[in-house]
């Protein structure tokens, strides 16, 4: 199993450009998440999804949109990139069940907006 995979690994955007980050998991997990990691701030939740066709806002959703058309895929879109969106983006997934379930993380996408 590949676990959680993300594409691309790196990307440089100009201000105002758009792009989509892709996340795929092969563990049949119901829950998927997008986080951003910034120095000194840890990881912050952008959006999440509890299942196919459903999404919800996290802590820092502004400037991002998401879609979950298929259970295994969770897409993160930037419509008009801004320098404040320079970050490392992590996708994660977890099993839906009772109690505290482990989240499995992807390798990350390093995005720079110039």
């Amino acid at each position: 199993n590949a676990g959680v995979t993300q594409t691309p690994k790196f990307r440089i955007l100009k201000i105002g450009q758009s792009m989509t980050l892709q996340c795929t998991q092969d563990m049949n997990h119901n829950y998927m998440y997008w986080y951003r990691q910034d120095p000194g701030m840890g990881l912050r939740l952008i959006h999440y999804s509890v299942g196919e066709g459903t999404t919800a806002k996290g802590e820092v959703p502004d400037g991002y949109n998401v879609s979950r058309l298929k259970k295994q895929n969770f897409l993160l879109g930037l419509e008009s990139a801004a320098p404040s969106q320079t970050s490392v983006y992590f996708c994660a997934s977890s099993y839906r069940g009772q109690g505290a379930n482990e989240q499995f993380f992807g390798p990350g996408t390093r995005l720079t907006v110039l």
Partner: protein, 109 residues
């Protein structure tokens, strides 16, 4: 609102010395707490969770509800323990995580 605080950004200890990474939380409900670790050039991975009350790689963490703490401890640090450690609190319908800002642990030879 829930919050996770890791007061130390950087922590250095010598090999064989005890290490404690601090984590405090604020949460109105019954917390579900985790420690995640990110080794150099590897993805973030679960180290341990409080409900398991387990020891992983020699690390333990005890939930202290009175002090609202979940400190991570290891009696004898090893060089391979050098990594970024995140304390996290799980809540909500999708068990989404609120992370602390992380502590970069360096174990010196």
């Amino acid at each position: 609102a829930q919050r996770v605080t890791q007061p130390e950004k950087l922590l250095s200890v010598f090999k064989g010395a005890p290490v404690e990474l601090k984590c405090n939380y604020s949460y109105s409900g019954s917390p579900e707490l985790f420690w995640y670790v990110q080794y150099s050039r590897q993805r973030l991975q679960l180290l341990l969770r409080h409900i398991s009350r387990e020891s992983i790689k020699g690390f333990t963490a005890d939930l202290n509800k009175g002090e609202t703490s979940f400190h991570l401890k290891k009696p004898f640090a090893q060089e391979e323990d050098s990594a970024m450690y995140y304390c996290a609190l799980s809540k909500g319908s999708a068990r989404q995580l609120t992370f602390g800002s992380g502590t970069q642990l360096t174990v010196l030879p």
